[in-house]
């Protein structure tokens, strides 16, 4: 194929009419772009660590403090009761210990559930935020 034919073909092809999209094509593209932009802005302005997360975290810290206080009080009370009531029966002492040991596991369980829930909420929040950004 010679160069002249190539030039002719080029000129020839430039006469060709391309396929045209619908009349509102540019507007549709721009609307989609603006919609994506505003969605992205909204995600950026939305705090990943929302109010709920902080409430759960504070609750968790309070519960941890409560466990610490209750367990310390229990130990002190345990030692004090022996001094105060030397004649008290062993049954009372055991009952007292068992009550506090049972009571002691309750805040621990609540704390466990709370921390589990807060971690799950936190992970869910991060995943949903990222999926919006990368979609």
């Amino acid at each position: 194929m010679n160069e002249l034919e190539d030039i002719k073909l080029k000129a020839f092809l430039q006469n060709m009419e391309l396929e045209k999209p619908g009349s509102g094509f540019t507007v549709q593209v721009m609307n989609k772009i603006f919609a994506e932009d505003s969605a992205l802005e909204q995600i950026k302005s939305e705090k990943i660590l929302g109010k709920g997360f902080w409430i759960i975290s504070i609750l968790f810290v309070v519960l941890l403090a409560a466990i610490f206080v209750v367990s310390n009080t229990g130990m002190q009370a345990d030692s004090q009761i022996g001094q105060l009531l030397p004649e008290a029966g062993q049954g009372l002492s055991e009952g007292y210990e068992s009550f506090f040991s049972k009571l002691g596991t309750l805040p621990l369980s609540i704390a466990g559930i709370t921390i589990g829930v807060s971690v799950l909420i936190f992970i869910d929040k991060i995943i949903s935020s990222n999926s919006k950004i990368f979609a």
Partner: protein, 188 residues
């Protein structure tokens, strides 16, 4: 209005003036749509794919460094998008030799085609080309892209692009020859 080059609009968009992207869309919508239309063979799907290509280009505009032509970069996005869609839908992407290349194809006399029929004839011939060859011809002759640029769009090596382009050109000549013969029979 004075036509500015692509970089001017891209810089504006990068600076936060999103509106300027509409100039880019206006400039390239026909060619992007034509490629999508050729591959997907359906107006609605092609329009959706073309829109998606522009949105993808907008989103990745920060990665465009300006070392290559913007059009090359945009066509690559479009071409890849279309190929992925075809694969997703398990459609046939025609790159086979559906048209037998005649020996005399190289001797086609383009001047023999009446001027008033040229646009129609070339469109009819282009429509008969397989998707990949259509894209090669469109980019090389219509968009005046270089072999290097086309190889970036199609992810073919430069030598492979050259060979494919040569074959596509011969095939186009064959189709045009046949079309002209048919036309002559109709006239006679």
């Amino acid at each position: 209005m004075e036509q500015k080059d692509d970089i001017y609009y891209i810089e504006k968009v990068k600076a936060g003036q999103t509106n300027y992207f509409s100039y880019i869309v206006e400039r390239y919508q026909d060619i992007v749509f034509s490629i999508a239309m050729k591959v997907l063979k359906n107006r609605e799907d092609a329009e959706e794919m073309a829109q998606e290509s522009f949105i993808k280009a907008y989103k990745s505009l920060h990665t465009f460094k300006g070392t290559a032509k913007f059009s090359t970069w945009l066509y690559r996005i479009t071409y890849n998008n279309c190929i992925s869609e075809v694969r997703k839908r398990k459609m046939h992407f025609a790159s086979t030799d559906d048209v037998q290349i005649a020996d005399e194809a190289e001797e086609m006399n383009l001047d023999g085609i009446p001027e008033e029929n040229r646009a129609q004839a070339i469109k009819a011939a282009m429509d008969k080309l397989p998707e990949d060859e259509y894209t090669l011809i469109l980019l090389y002759y219509f968009e005046e892209q270089s072999i290097e640029e086309i190889s970036k769009v199609t992810k073919l090596s430069e030598s492979n692009t050259k060979v494919k382009l040569f074959r596509a050109r011969k095939k186009l000549y064959t189709i045009l020859n046949e079309l002209m013969k048919d036309e002559l029979y109709t006239i006679l």
